[in-house]
């Protein structure tokens, strides 16, 4: 509902495409171009990381065993929530897992929480400052979500190799799910089938981890854009007529309701990302046979 730099309202398609375009330093040449960076996603993800790290560090510095302050209470609640789940799922010994799960949960939740900010607020302000496009939710950027999930994949490989050795890691592809003990010839015959199935499930984990988060957040943002289209051509001038009032107030109500639902979905997806990370790392660091 904010006015754009141009005096007449954009067409719906233009509006949608404007809100789906990232702020890049240069447009990418082909599918894989590492020199094209989505500056807005990087800026907001780093900002949220500094915010999360700074707040939790400050809480840890001032921790007391007496009656906790409200902020310390909140931080303790979050840490205990994640810690309870990690203790339930991860049966090995590692000092990395619980802080990793906490970081993933809080960081991804902060990404998703930015979806609640009104759609045109920050892009409109950026447009007034001369920046053409701005997308503020980092988890609607495929690069960010795949960065997270590929890091988790590297950790899975690292934990597998640390527990089973390099040979054991590769042997595991040939020995699961069909394992025929004591008959190496039969095992060698089923090994190709095992390798295909295991490799598919190995790759499916980071891909599904990333796309689950991306799909949920992108669909949420898309519904916000579609709600904003209701009052796109009228803006505040729609309040002059009764039909305009219905449209404007209706869009406002829909926006509020969807914001609440999207916040819940964002919390849930962040929690799932963290829990599944712990589950995959727990499976990777199990002692086998």
């Amino acid at each position: 509902m904010f006015r754009h730099m141009i005096s007449e309202a954009p067409s719906p398609n233009e509006y949608i495409l404007h809100h789906l375009t990232f702020l890049t330093n240069r447009s990418p040449k082909g599918i894989l171009d590492f020199s094209a960076i989505n500056l807005d996603s990087v800026f907001f993800s780093v900002l949220l990381a500094v915010l999360f790290g700074g707040l939790f560090y400050a809480a840890a510095r001032r921790v007391t065993t007496g009656v906790p302050s409200r902020f310390q209470n909140f931080v303790e609640w979050v840490v205990e929530l994640v810690d309870a789940q990690v203790k339930d799922i991860f049966h090995g010994q590692s000092r990395l897992i619980a802080p990793l799960a906490l970081t993933i949960f809080c960081w991804v939740f902060l990404f998703n929480a930015l979806d609640v900010v009104p759609l045109d607020l920050l892009p409109g302000a950026a447009g007034a400052a001369g920046i053409g496009h701005l997308r503020i939710v980092p988890s609607t950027d495929l690069n960010i979500v795949f960065g997270l999930s590929l890091t988790v994949l590297l950790l899975i490989i690292f934990y597998s190799v640390a527990m089973k050795g390099v040979v054991g890691f590769f042997a595991e592809f040939a020995l699961h799910p069909l394992r025929i003990k004591g008959r190496p010839l039969m095992q060698a015959l089923v090994a190709p089938f095992n390798i295909v199935v295991e490799f598919a499930s190995f790759l499916a984990r980071p891909v599904s981890l990333a796309l689950r988060l991306y799909g949920n957040m992108f669909a949420g943002e898309m519904v916000f854009i579609l709600i904003a289209l209701i009052t796109l051509s009228s803006g505040f001038a729609g309040l002059a007529s009764l039909g305009g009032w219905v449209g404007t107030v209706g869009a406002l109500l829909l926006g509020i309701l969807w914001s609440l639902f999207d916040l819940f979905i964002g919390f849930l997806q962040a929690f799932i990302f963290a829990i599944l990370t712990v589950v995959y790392l727990s499976a990777a660091s199990e002692h086998h046979d």
Binding site: N13, L17, L211, R212, Y214, G215, A219, L268, I272
Partner: protein, 94 residues
């Protein structure tokens, strides 16, 4: 131009099928999950909070492929690669 209209018509049908089948599968999955959760809660009410937490985990897992499908469907709606391919083949008109 005709082939672009044809591609767009097919794309709209495909997007509808993606949304519909995703919703269909998710609805059945949630229904089964909710029913089993209620049964479990009725048998052992003291486990209800833990069961609820686990139920939400499965909700998020069930939603995953549906939302991946929605992401692809929206991609086909607004940045259709097939239309772009046809437009690249056409000589620059007007």
């Amino acid at each position: 131009m005709e082939s672009i209209a044809h591609i767009e018509a097919m794309t709209v049908l495909a997007v509808g099928i993606i949304f519909g089948m995703g919703a269909f599968g998710t609805a059945i999955g949630f229904g089964l999950l909710g029913g089993r959760f209620l049964e479990g809660m009725a048998r052992q009410p003291e486990l209800a909070p833990a069961l609820l937490g686990r139920a939400f985990i499965f909700v998020a897992l069930l939603d995953a492929v549906t939302f991946i499908g929605i992401g692809f469907a929206l991609f086909f709606t607004f940045a259709n690669p097939f239309v772009a391919a046809v437009q690249a083949l056409q000589p620059a008109a007007h």
